[in-house]
Symmetry: D2
Subunit: 368 residues, 4 copies
Amino acid sequence: MAGNSFGDLFRISTFGESHGKAIGVIIDGCPSNITIDEEFIQSELDKRKPGQSRITTQRKESDTAQILSGVFEGKSTGTPIAIVIPNEDQRSKDYTHIKDIFRPSHADFTYQMKYGIRDYRGGGRSSARETAARVAAGAVAKSFLQQFGIEIFAHVSGVGTIEAPNLDTKDLKALLELRESNIARCADPATANEMVEFIDSVRKAGDTVGGRISAVVRHVPVGLGEPVFDKLHADLAKAMMSINAVHGFEYGSGFAGSELRGSEHNDIFVADDHDLNQVHTHTNFSGGIQGGISNGMDITFKVAFKPVATIMRDQETVDIHGNPAIASGKGRHDPCVVSRAVIIVEAMAALVIADHLLKHQSYKHAAR
Amino acid sequence: MAGNSFGDLFRISTFGESHGKAIGVIIDGCPSNITIDEEFIQSELDKRKPGQSRITTQRKESDTAQILSGVFEGKSTGTPIAIVIPNEDQRSKDYTHIKDIFRPSHADFTYQMKYGIRDYRGGGRSSARETAARVAAGAVAKSFLQQFGIEIFAHVSGVGTIEAPNLDTKDLKALLELRESNIARCADPATANEMVEFIDSVRKAGDTVGGRISAVVRHVPVGLGEPVFDKLHADLAKAMMSINAVHGFEYGSGFAGSELRGSEHNDIFVADDHDLNQVHTHTNFSGGIQGGISNGMDITFKVAFKPVATIMRDQETVDIHGNPAIASGKGRHDPCVVSRAVIIVEAMAALVIADHLLKHQSYKHAAR
Amino acid sequence: MAGNSFGDLFRISTFGESHGKAIGVIIDGCPSNITIDEEFIQSELDKRKPGQSRITTQRKESDTAQILSGVFEGKSTGTPIAIVIPNEDQRSKDYTHIKDIFRPSHADFTYQMKYGIRDYRGGGRSSARETAARVAAGAVAKSFLQQFGIEIFAHVSGVGTIEAPNLDTKDLKALLELRESNIARCADPATANEMVEFIDSVRKAGDTVGGRISAVVRHVPVGLGEPVFDKLHADLAKAMMSINAVHGFEYGSGFAGSELRGSEHNDIFVADDHDLNQVHTHTNFSGGIQGGISNGMDITFKVAFKPVATIMRDQETVDIHGNPAIASGKGRHDPCVVSRAVIIVEAMAALVIADHLLKHQSYKHAAR
Amino acid sequence: MAGNSFGDLFRISTFGESHGKAIGVIIDGCPSNITIDEEFIQSELDKRKPGQSRITTQRKESDTAQILSGVFEGKSTGTPIAIVIPNEDQRSKDYTHIKDIFRPSHADFTYQMKYGIRDYRGGGRSSARETAARVAAGAVAKSFLQQFGIEIFAHVSGVGTIEAPNLDTKDLKALLELRESNIARCADPATANEMVEFIDSVRKAGDTVGGRISAVVRHVPVGLGEPVFDKLHADLAKAMMSINAVHGFEYGSGFAGSELRGSEHNDIFVADDHDLNQVHTHTNFSGGIQGGISNGMDITFKVAFKPVATIMRDQETVDIHGNPAIASGKGRHDPCVVSRAVIIVEAMAALVIADHLLKHQSYKHAAR
């Protein structure tokens, strides 16, 4: 109930603070006999780690994952997979200046009021550093989903008011290559350049900016998602909204769809060769989910991130005694989080799909 | 896991199909000694029930709630409160024409593929009729929250491309009166008129249209919400996305906030009288939630509904054998759901807040 | 968390008080396409219902189950199955004498202190009447398990100091016939006679007596049970201990096994025809469960019930103001509950096995 | 669902195999501002660790606990407390002889059949080594409960057919001293001597023996426990039955109570000074729990452990191909587990009480 776990059958529990000894995760419910490749986990973590480019924080962490359990001779055994990522670059002294004050739009105030105590160093548990544990777990989930041919892809589709054009998502491998070819992690190179320029200018101004990530999940079997409350898109929404700084989620036609008429918005079913297993829809306003259950089409969604709260400027605020104070802009921070958050969005999507896949398998095979 | 329950400590489980004997709900975890007023529950249900105006479906249901348990001499006893709402106007024959076909953008196809069987009458379990059970439960949650002075208000802020201006939310009672003064359930009377006209024209065209609901929760104590995964807004997102036809959710600054800079977006803390318990923020881009935890400011969010899938026109589709078929537009349906959905949004918000309130009480009082 | 639900994937939530309008249950997670036979549910309820013989309470309840949802044309649809059992013979006036006092060894005191309010009529929610809802749900679980050939059998193996001999459990149908041939529900006819005589004499003395129920589950597939905490026998223990009046649980060799040596107690594996799927053990001290996981042998366990607390005598006690009082023995009560509890034990066992079967199916088919 | 977590509000998740890199636990939901004393955790672990006396296994593990998160300046912060215990003495080669065979009455067979793969070294996840993680978590739970004056005490009350007399449990500190004065961990010194002699003789015979642990929890507030399914004793039962080798559980009057009459068994209420808060019972057949809810009296229960399966003798068995094989008795094992299990029983009891305390606090303070 304390909210540090996610998923039911494929379940993760994360721990750790920004400047404690380590962060980590227990993955419980990963089926046995899945190949667990430490190098793949590491390569995923490398996409999230700080210090990877000039538009990310300069904090240096190697973010090296250590698997403590649940894997035997390279395969999952069905027992909990514990992964620990030691914290290295803990310049805790950088944070003594925030020990007694509440930084604007951070979690300092709410943590202090809720718990009566907080590890103020780097934001403690409220730091997005916790998401490294999610990425490690997401890599395991992806390894599991790979067996079913399920592919997940996310990229930065918007920064500030810059918006990338819609992409053709048929070849996700090609898109992945395009995305990884630039530090903005936008799969449209022209827009990517624009984004990098803009983020860099924002960084130089000591400011930050928000952005948007668009994602697609392909080859999801028909039938995933549990009505009524655990609709597939409801769980995706919760997963995404649980990522630090996220303020909005939409799937399929999203907010724009709410302006349309039914006659424009309905997705017409088509069956090739009179085969129920070939049924698909012409359009995909439904975003691959109908009645909360996957229909076999691409699952599409978008996530909105607010601008990073830490700016390199002095801001008025209040201290822990209720007195006026100044929060000064120090430390090493991201001017825009979306480039590093792409892999977190993918990880959370993988975890949601893996959980629902297990749920679906349970019922699918139960009745004969 | 089958997804028919919501909440952890204040938990509801709903049951029932559109054309079965009854729908209903068990509310488990409602604290004892709360006054449970059947008339209040009924008045909430009346705001959702079909047939209440010319811009809603003409299906007639009295939606009369019967409390079967958990209430003794007008007070909750701490045991499960079961509420049953019998189905009355079950013109099941209206639905024989959809027995063998998959209506576009409905859940017919996914239910059939997931379960291998479906109660096709009125959409069965996938019908929004299920939400009546949520409204009844929400009324109980509201009764509980009332003790803490917590107020919840939602209204229709958008229909199609019509958008209501932002409201001053200081006097929710006045807004409620304005909202209930029109059948669109928009608290801005001028916009409401426009909406009603528009929905009526859409209805006459045999078409449907989407819309948006904006909500505010006031007087929420500081400290509700459980980082990391069960952030207050993440649970609100899941709650809202679980409502039929919802395609998008945002809180605080939302999608628009992702276009801003940190220097514009940060909410500056202010403490009146050097009192921590008086801390508030000038602006409220955070939507009353920071780090997933309520900060005492108004909690604000917006929900996007797609257009109703059932239109009064013939549409191409596929039947349960995989052959081409025509879905004809029959039956009694809503041209736009948002006016009836306002009370569902409030109910789900009440359930989320009640659940988090209990969680918070648990920890708050545990440590001494 | 309020404890009115049991199971994870095959999950039941019960509601209702002894003298409220109705008791009932929602069964969530029952796979689709299972034949749900109302007559079978009723026949199970009839084995638990009061007034069935001279050694049970004379309260009359027809205990007629009504299915409200989740079943379409005789088959489960995968949606929640709600079953309601109206209360009929509510002589609430019988209970005004206990309104203000705490009956010894009943739950009056603890409910009052926990909730600050209680429905005192017939014990309210603490009444074993709640178990009728479990029996209805158990009948559904049995219908599901039947598809896998899983059989469950329980009988009264002890009343007071009377103990039935161990039974050969190879032919459960024959044992069932023997059990149902007597009102004690002991499958050993000679012991049954002794028990009936004894219970009758206890009843005439205005007293009550405890007893024991032994159970066996056959043809459980290898692999059910989730280490570490959700061991199959741990969940069976919780299920049984949750039944009113149960004070003890043991499986396999049980308490007696704790007096043995390893060399006596170990179950030697044997494989017929060099076939892993034929592996079994000579002895079965393990009670069909090793490491918390079913090994394919018979699952055996025993449950101890304390004597019924309501006796037909005056007892000293305390009233709700903390003053000395007399609890007088009135009303209609069982002199010994085990004969009616046999079917409850079977129901709870069925629910545990069904839940673990779904869990196991999930993982079994997930990895390829 | 994979069963590696226990508790709802005060929740632990354990990981690790006998011969992997480490075992450990995440404690989620521990309230903030609790003093977490590493030395106390270590002293608890020392009571469970192997090699502590001649009647335990000679495997040497220092079992040094490392806190990775959730504690700041000696206090819990309300975030997950991760504790890791590295494995040191991993003589994995000792286990190559069991790689391909199923040891009698071990979990080798069931794990292999369930998962299709197993870490055979030392039993892998099925090893009781996992319980060290529980003991560490139990120490944290005890630290929390200490604030409420709740005391937990367990000791070895039986080994083989040797049975300790009932103890006066008024002074638990004195009993603890008596218990820790001997290697059997029986608080009755005379019986302890007998037990040690007996276990030693069993050990020399290359055999093993079962035993029993009795426990008491004092000063539990009235009101803990959630009817209907999550009765306090039902959760205690599950907790105890989840400990390796446990085959039986009883509370209060237990199995013996099922032989009694109501007139003998009922606990008469007494109120001193006409004060509801002083209500207690003369006798305590109820074991401190009525209707599943604590009544303020001592909570008493007993746990039965089967004899250790690993004996120093050759035993017939089957290999992983289904062929006959010999399991030879090698390695370092306990002749009797109960002396080391005493602290595990206490830990699990502490976790159950802590979880229910949080649940109760939640409701208690919710209604006004």
